[in-house]
């Protein structure tokens, strides 16, 4: 019923995927910025137009448009930046802008949890592992290691971008094509969003909450088991026998 909107969605997806294809790191010359930046701008502008035509009033305010632009641009840079640390930092930008987007949409608790869990915990873990993995290349080739070979060349960029285009186009087409039914208003409780979520979690989803806790604990045990199994065999430097420390090897 809204055919031209669906075609607009396809068109936006196509433009965005060409822009991402141009932005991906590849062999040879630097990425073609003169081509890529206007394409990206066009794609993000198309997304904004789609939002304006389609989405509810919460998505039409200026805040959310700015946040959407920030999130999508940050996500493009996460995918295309050759250095892992920068890519992690751009991911912080994506997380912050999506959290703010959720606050705009009225999900305050989820936004706060997103900032704490993602931007706090998960990102620290990522940056820690990135540092750990790049630390051993220290030396004259530090610059080379910073953008090592496999970071500079994308793998099968065309096929991947085509797959992404098909996915995004179908999903966006379905979402747009079903039309914008007027959203039922959220029941506005005097207690606020956080209290409502707590009520839902502890009444309807109580078992799931317990399962999530168990899952977290199992994952913690599994991570410890995975990370320490290979450790004594492959460590560089003098390998100490277990009883040796404290006899002639100083513990500190």
């Amino acid at each position: 019923m809204q055919d031209w909107l669906v075609y607009l969605a396809y068109f936006v997806a196509a433009i965005g995927s060409t822009a991402v294809y141009a932005a991906l790191p590849r062999e040879g010359a630097a990425p073609r910025k003169s081509f890529m930046i206007p394409m990206l701008g066009l794609a993000i502008g198309g997304v904004v137009v789609l939002l304006n035509k389609f989405a509810g009033p919460a998505a039409q305010s200026w805040y959310s448009i700015i946040l959407v632009v920030l999130a999508l641009g940050g996500a493009v840079r996460v995918v295309t930046h050759p250095k892992p640390v920068y890519s992690a930092l751009y991911f912080v930008m994506v997380v912050l802008s999506t959290a703010a987007l959720m606050v705009v949409c009225g999900a305050e608790f989820l936004g706060a949890a997103l900032v704490i869990v993602y931007a706090g915990a998960i990102l620290v873990t990522y940056v820690f592992v990135i540092m750990l993995a790049q630390q051993s290349h220290r030396g004259p080739e530090a610059q080379v290691a910073a953008t090592s070979d496999f970071d500079r060349h994308a793998r099968e960029p065309f096929a991947a971008v085509a797959a992404g285009f098909v996915l995004v186009a179908t999903v966006a087409g379905v979402i747009v094509g079903q039309g914008s039914t007027p959203s039922t208003p959220m029941p506005n409780s005097p207690d606020g969003n956080t209290m409502e979520i707590g009520r839902v979690l502890l009444t309807d989803f109580a078992v799931s909450v317990e399962l999530a806790g168990v899952l977290l604990m199992v994952a913690m045990i599994g991570a410890i088991a995975l990370a320490r199994r290979r450790f004594p065999k492959h460590e560089e430097g003098p390998a100490y026998q277990p009883g040796e420390i404290g006899r002639h090897v100083k513990p500190f």
Binding site: L114, Y126, V129, E156, G164, V176, V200, D204, G222, R230
Partner: protein, 93 residues
């Protein structure tokens, strides 16, 4: 919802293209972001809180995935000394 779909698609593209294992995991996190945005948007559209509650569970799963995935990455890195996914081609059947 469109934004969520776009984020998810970008994550898929990144996962398929990048060869650095850590960046591949970051791209899965981008996909999680897209799904989260979609959950919140749909919950708002149908006017209930289950979208947000499921968003919290997605957060839990993301934390679990990050922990386990990074542990695996660290283990693989200790074995081969590189983060290149192409070095693990021999695991092909």
């Amino acid at each position: 919802m469109i934004v969520g779909a776009m984020l998810f698609g970008l994550g898929v593209v990144g996962f398929l293209t990048r060869r650095n294992l850590i960046i591949m995991f970051l791209c899965t996190e981008v996909m999680f972001q897209g799904v989260l945005v979609n959950f919140v948007a749909m919950g708002q559209r149908w006017g209930n809180l289950q979208g947000q509650a499921f968003g919290l569970f997605v957060l839990v799963i993301a934390a679990v995935e990050a922990g386990l995935g990074l542990a695996i990455v660290v283990m693989l890195y200790r074995r081969r000394g590189t983060l290149d996914a192409e070095h693990w081609r021999t695991m092909r059947g």
